[in-house]
């Protein structure tokens, strides 16, 4: 940047000081606009393709909007009626609570298991670590639609491998022809297992990167001073990986609260209402029932929840100086 100025001075020795000043002002105005010009296409696309629909989502949530309105291009303003309808519907509260519990359980399990595996990887031989890493990358890369299909096959009533293993290998009882989706609780157990299985790779790889930065000497010194394994983790390792844990947790909350495919495809695109999560509820209300306005109001609740989680994520990024 400074070199551009030097060049300019070399090129303009014969001009009067006034002309030179004006020229340099014009040049600096031009160079000041460069970053804006560079960022403009991206900002415009984000604003047009994400920002505008988001605005339309807010508007829709205050309107009566069904298939007829899509065709006629006319809308009726309802004010907060959509919100009144959903908030006075007991189903909404049931689903919100279910989604909160689903998110809390999955995030908790993912973070605890992920941290445990990351700690485990510190103590294993190199070849074991390599194998675990390869498995993690394979799982991470598997498309969600494919993952759901695989799990449907694993739990298949007739010849699924899970029922066979539980009956004949673990001998946990008779699981022959067991239907995992007969009760929502066991159905959600399967869905959670699938979600956690899919989420672990990112968490493990990220946390292991953090854990492996803790110097061995620090851990050994703590052990010499009589710290237990638990104490070493709490007082030596956790403080170092804490920022990472916070980021990974808030990302997991954001992802798990919005889970859609794992439920929708798993239940063959026809989930019964006892399997509704907020995302499915919003989707069904819009595309199933054709009440786009009400579906938008439900989606708004999801957005508000996620903004809260995103706030923690961004604050953490600001705190570690990544955005500066």
């Amino acid at each position: 940047m400074s070199t551009a100025g030097t060049q300019g001075q070399l090129l303009a020795p014969r001009r009067s000081p006034e002309v030179r000043r004006r020229a340099s002002r014009a040049r600096s105005a031009r160079s000041r606009s460069v970053p804006y010009l560079l960022a403009a296409p991206a900002i415009i696309v984000i604003a047009a393709v994400l920002g505008y629909p988001l605005y339309r989502l807010v508007a829709l949530s205050f309107q009566h909007y069904s298939l007829a309105e899509i065709i006629s291009h006319k809308t009726t303003w309802l004010g907060i009626r959509n919100y009144q309808t959903i908030f006075t519907d007991s189903q909404f509260w049931t689903i919100l609570q279910r989604t909160a519990e689903f998110t809390a359980f999955n995030v908790g399990a993912t973070i605890v298991l992920g941290t445990a595996i990351a700690m485990l990887l510190r103590n294993v031989s190199g070849w074991v670590r390599l194998m675990v890493n390869i498995a993690m990358v394979f799982v991470w890369a598997t498309p969600v639609v494919v993952a759901v299909t695989i799990w449907q096959w694993l739990i298949d009533q007739q010849s699924g491998v899970l029922n066979y293993v539980l009956t004949h290998v673990v001998r946990a009882g008779n699981f022959e022809r067991h239907d995992w989706f007969a009760s929502p609780l066991s159905g959600f157990a399967i869905i959670s297992a699938l979600v956690i299985w899919g989420a672990l790779p990112f968490v493990v790889i990220t946390l292991y990167a953090g854990v492996s930065q803790v110097p061995r000497e620090l851990e050994e010194a703590a052990r010499v001073d009589g710290a237990t394994s638990c104490g070493v983790f709490r007082h030596v390792i956790y403080p170092i990986i804490k920022p990472l844990v916070l980021i990974v947790t808030s990302l997991s909350v954001i992802w798990d609260f919005g889970v859609f495919n794992q439920v929708y495809i798993m239940l063959n695109a026809r989930p019964t209402s006892s399997y509704y999560l907020m995302s499915i509820y919003s989707y069904q209300e819009s595309f199933g029932v054709g009440q786009y306005g009400r579906g938008a109001a439900i989606a708004m609740v999801i957005v508000v929840f996620l903004i809260v989680a995103a706030f923690f994520y961004i604050r953490q990024l600001l705190r570690i100086g990544e955005i500066k």
Binding site: L38, V124, V146, I302
Partner: protein, 275 residues
């Protein structure tokens, strides 16, 4: 000494258990894809496909809409990747190389936008595209994918640009290179590996996406994930065919992903690990 060795052995056993639990579903997909119909249908699982057959792959590839959905996915992926990488790179240079008013706001915006769930935006997007008569049109889908991959690709490329010392460009300019010349002769070639990683990331996102494609496209325009899910959701499924189809869909992605996986983790946690 003895206790530390026991701990090491126990850790290895635990590590292997993790390996088996994580890899098994993936292994089972590939193994099933090569099994014969009778081996799949039997209650007693065949742990290793001894009589491997390619019949399932053949069946998957001759199912209706397989090739058309592959073609649609490839079109969508190529269009999304090529446009988003260029646009994202310009923005990445802006926020990595320049100090300007509003820079921090743009960065927060880019991170924040990534948090908006697809599910929430499907409704207005469907309504808008239905009005523009762009549903059941690949262009509408490409446009939405473009916007969805953009924030993260900007973020990822920014990391690559930051990794290249600005002194290199300054030195080139001292040697008589213009600003634009330094940009094309120094920065662009040095960021090339970043372009590769970012394009692969965008390609994976576009290849794997399901809901938008499902809502916005009809059968003659469906993408590969929608094709697979539609096979899945028909009851009385042919598992061999499904697993062969799944393998075919996952294969290119797994290969690409192996190439960039550490970059993705770095990008999401935004380099929080660096010393």
């Amino acid at each position: 000494m003895n206790t530390s060795r026991t701990r090491h052995v126990l850790a290895n056993i635990g590590g292997l258990a993790v390996f088996i639990v994580m890899i098994f579903p993936v292994y089972w997909m590939v193994a099933t894809a090569f099994k014969s119909g009778s081996a799949i249908a039997s209650v007693r699982p065949t742990w290793f496909p001894t009589h491997a057959t390619l019949a399932n792959f053949k069946d998957a590839m001759t199912r209706p809409f397989f090739w058309s959905s592959v073609r649609n996915s490839v079109v969508v992926v190529v269009a999304t990747v090529s446009v988003s990488t260029v646009v994202a790179f310009l923005a990445a240079v802006a926020i990595a190389r320049f100090k300007f008013y509003g820079r921090k706001a743009i960065m927060v915006l880019i991170v924040l936008v990534q948090m908006i769930p697809l599910v929430a935006l499907i409704i207005p997007m469907y309504v808008l595209l239905a009005r523009l008569h762009l549903t059941d049109n690949l262009l509408g889908l490409i446009l939405t994918y473009f916007a969805f991959v953009l924030p993260y690709t900007v973020w990822m490329l920014r990391g690559f640009v930051l990794g290249i010392p600005p002194e290199l460009e300054e030195a080139a300019m001292v040697d008589g290179c213009s600003r634009l010349g330094a940009f094309f002769r120094i920065l662009v070639p040095l960021v090339a590996p970043g372009f590769v990683a970012t394009s692969i990331y965008a390609a994976i996102q576009a290849w794997n996406e399901y809901i938008l494609a499902y809502v916005l496209l009809k059968q003659n325009h469906e993408t590969i994930t929608v094709w697979l899910a539609s096979l899945t959701t028909l009851r009385g499924t042919a598992w061999g065919t499904l697993m062969a189809g799944s393998t075919l869909i996952a294969l290119p992605i797994v290969a690409f992903f192996l190439a960039i996986q550490h970059r993705v983790a770095d990008g999401l946690t935004a380099g929080a690990v660096k010393g």
